[in-house]
């Protein structure tokens, strides 16, 4: 997929909760956004943050075709994301996109697919779920978070399929971790897609391995270039060190050497 460097215009900045913003962007000149696939990401330039030297990788959260809008869901963790969260409608943000690979989707439309997102890791799941639904699948969503207020974009997910929830403190859905949720345990899935904190993804990978379920995870290794040029973001795999930014961020767990 051809990569672009674009100044995209902020159309909306929604603070979803203390620590999260949903930013919506469109093109400056009204032209169509370039094609992007679920799982891909943008390298976003952060202007005006003296401590932020490199771009920040952020997943494509959603492409709103009707409005020609790109959505990014951002958790405020450090100076870069904090600065980014202050952009206002009308301002432009420079991005290199779309980067990385995408999820692989089984041919059989009857495949039982579950998309598991933890915290801000739900971001790429929305666009993936949308694509799956578009293509005639019936994806199921399982969202996990610390607390009810960390469950994001619930409304949007509900338009795409059944949504199940776990929270660590039990304030919404089942109490506990995603891997303990009854929907996972009581049903037989053909494939799991997941993105979230590494311990969560490792627990899911373990679950998938044990239950012989095909599973793809989205990694968030630190990046410098985002385009496969610097070799900073490597993951050790069955094929040696490979770049998460280029041959990932989506990996089948069979390719990973995680000790699970």
């Amino acid at each position: 997929m051809k990569k672009y460097i674009l100044d995209l215009k902020v159309t909306e900045n929604l603070r979803l909760h203390t620590n999260y913003v949903l930013l919506k962007f469109t093109t400056v000149d009204g032209s169509s956004l370039p094609p992007m696939a679920p799982g891909q990401f943008a390298e976003v330039r952060v202007d005006g943050s003296p401590t932020t030297f490199l771009r920040r990788p952020i997943s494509i959260n959603y492409i709103d075709m009707d409005n020609n809008e790109l959505w990014l869901l951002i958790q405020l963790v450090g100076d870069g994301t904090k600065k980014l969260s202050t952009v206002s409608p009308g301002q432009t943000v420079n991005m290199v996109l779309p980067l990385g690979n995408t999820f692989t989707i089984p041919e059989d439309k009857a495949s039982q697919l579950i998309l598991i997102g933890g915290g801000v890791g739900t971001a790429p799941m929305l666009y993936l779920g949308y694509e799956l639904k578009q293509q005639g699948y019936n994806p199921i969503f399982l969202l996990g978070a610390r607390s009810a207020t960390d469950i994001l974009q619930l409304k949007e997910f509900k338009t795409l399929g059944d949504v199940f929830i776990t929270t660590e403190d039990g304030t919404l859905g089942e109490k506990g971790y995603v891997t303990q949720h009854s929907v996972l345990i009581e049903n037989k899935f053909d494939k799991i897609y997941t993105c979230g904190p590494k311990p969560m993804m490792m627990a899911i990978a373990k679950y998938a391995k044990t239950h012989n379920i095909d599973c793809e995870v989205s990694l968030e290794n630190n990046m410098a270039c985002g385009v496969g040029a610097c070799l900073c973001c490597v993951e050790k795999t069955t094929e040696g060190h490979i770049c998460v930014c280029k041959e990932g961020p989506i990996f089948n767990i069979n390719k990973l050497l995680w000790q699970i």
Binding site: R45, F53, L54, N221, A224, G226, V227, L231, H241
Partner: protein, 301 residues
């Protein structure tokens, strides 16, 4: 358009802007963003005799106006380069230069000899300055004797343009430059990365798997500029200046300090089109100040 041509050994560059090894892949990674044929030269990834897996992840840490890397020369070895990569890049219409690394003099010699056979690679850059691998790289670049020895040995098997990339982690870089010039280097490039370190205070651990790594980016520019200026007074061969060049003004500063050409590294990560902007910016600078050729400003300071 001012005359931007410069010469490095027997190479003619259409302009003084090259890309720095390890920051531009094999060039192809940037083909979507810029017209590669506009570049003066592309220096590809560090290549070694044998396949190297590089260092474990994490390999990168952001620092004030810069970054540390500890890639450790990950590459599939020179044979793979010749078989698989060379055919892909040999028709890029610019000078394609291979950065050669090694752990022993024999490694350097064997790798250089193989590259010498490739028609479309007119030059190599000998990396005697990588701070990220234990048994070699930088160790060669930190004494005149060992630096001279590598260059002498490679010079015997490599007839093309031989650029030697110097380490900034030394007391007297001019002395090393003189030593490699004496052994037949056609040019010196400087600086490679400065040895640095980052700590995660909360976890009380080094951030890089290798503890230390190489510092690059805007933060190193003052040091790089000083070294280029010192080396320019010490040697006659053309100098390729790099280290922290983020825009055309930075590039002009290196030319003024005595560099015949410049390389752009880390800045490619922040703006994948930066090389083209720097070429255009140098041209604009020359025009604005009434120069007809880039030659006129080299070493003015």
């Amino acid at each position: 358009m001012a005359d931007l041509n410069v010469k490095i050994g027997s190479l003619t560059l259409k302009n003084p802007v090259m890309t720095a090894s390890g920051t531009f892949g094999y060039g192809l990674e940037f083909a979507d963003f810029i017209d590669l044929s506009r570049l003066g030269a592309i220096i590809v990834k560090g290549t070694t005799l044998h396949h190297r897996e590089g260092n474990p992840y994490p390999r990168m840490a952001e620092t004030p106006s810069g970054m540390l890397n500890a890639v450790g020369l990950q590459n599939k070895g020179v044979e793979y380069f010749i078989q698989k990569i060379y055919p892909e890049i040999k028709n890029i219409d610019t000078n394609m230069i291979v950065n050669v690394s090694g752990s022993t003099i024999d490694d350097y010699v064997a790798t250089s000899a193989k590259i010498a056979a490739l028609e479309k690679i007119p030059a190599i850059e000998l990396n005697i300055s990588c701070p990220n691998v234990k048994e070699g790289g930088m160790a060669f670049g930190t004494s005149c004797k060992s630096a001279g020895n590598v260059v002498k040995a490679v010079r015997q098997v490599y007839p093309g343009t031989l650029i030697v990339k110097l380490s900034p982690n030394v007391t007297d870089i001019a002395e090393i430059a003189r030593a490699v010039e004496a052994e037949g280097a056609d040019s010196v490039s400087l600086i490679n990365t400065l040895l640095g370190m980052a700590i995660d205070a909360e976890r009380r651990k080094p951030i890089l798997s290798t503890v230390t790594g190489g510092l690059s980016g805007a933060c190193v520019k003052p040091i790089a500029l000083r070294m280029v200026w010192q080396v320019a007074k010490a040697v006659k061969v053309p100098i390729i200046g790099l280290g922290g060049i983020m825009n055309a003004t930075d590039a002009v500063e290196f030319l003024l300090a005595g560099a015949t050409a410049v390389q752009i590294g880390t800045a490619n990560f922040i703006d994948p089109q930066i090389t083209i902007k720097v070429i255009d910016g140098i041209n604009g600078y020359l025009k604005r100040h009434g120069y007809n050729s880039v030659q006129e400003i080299i070493g003015l300071v």
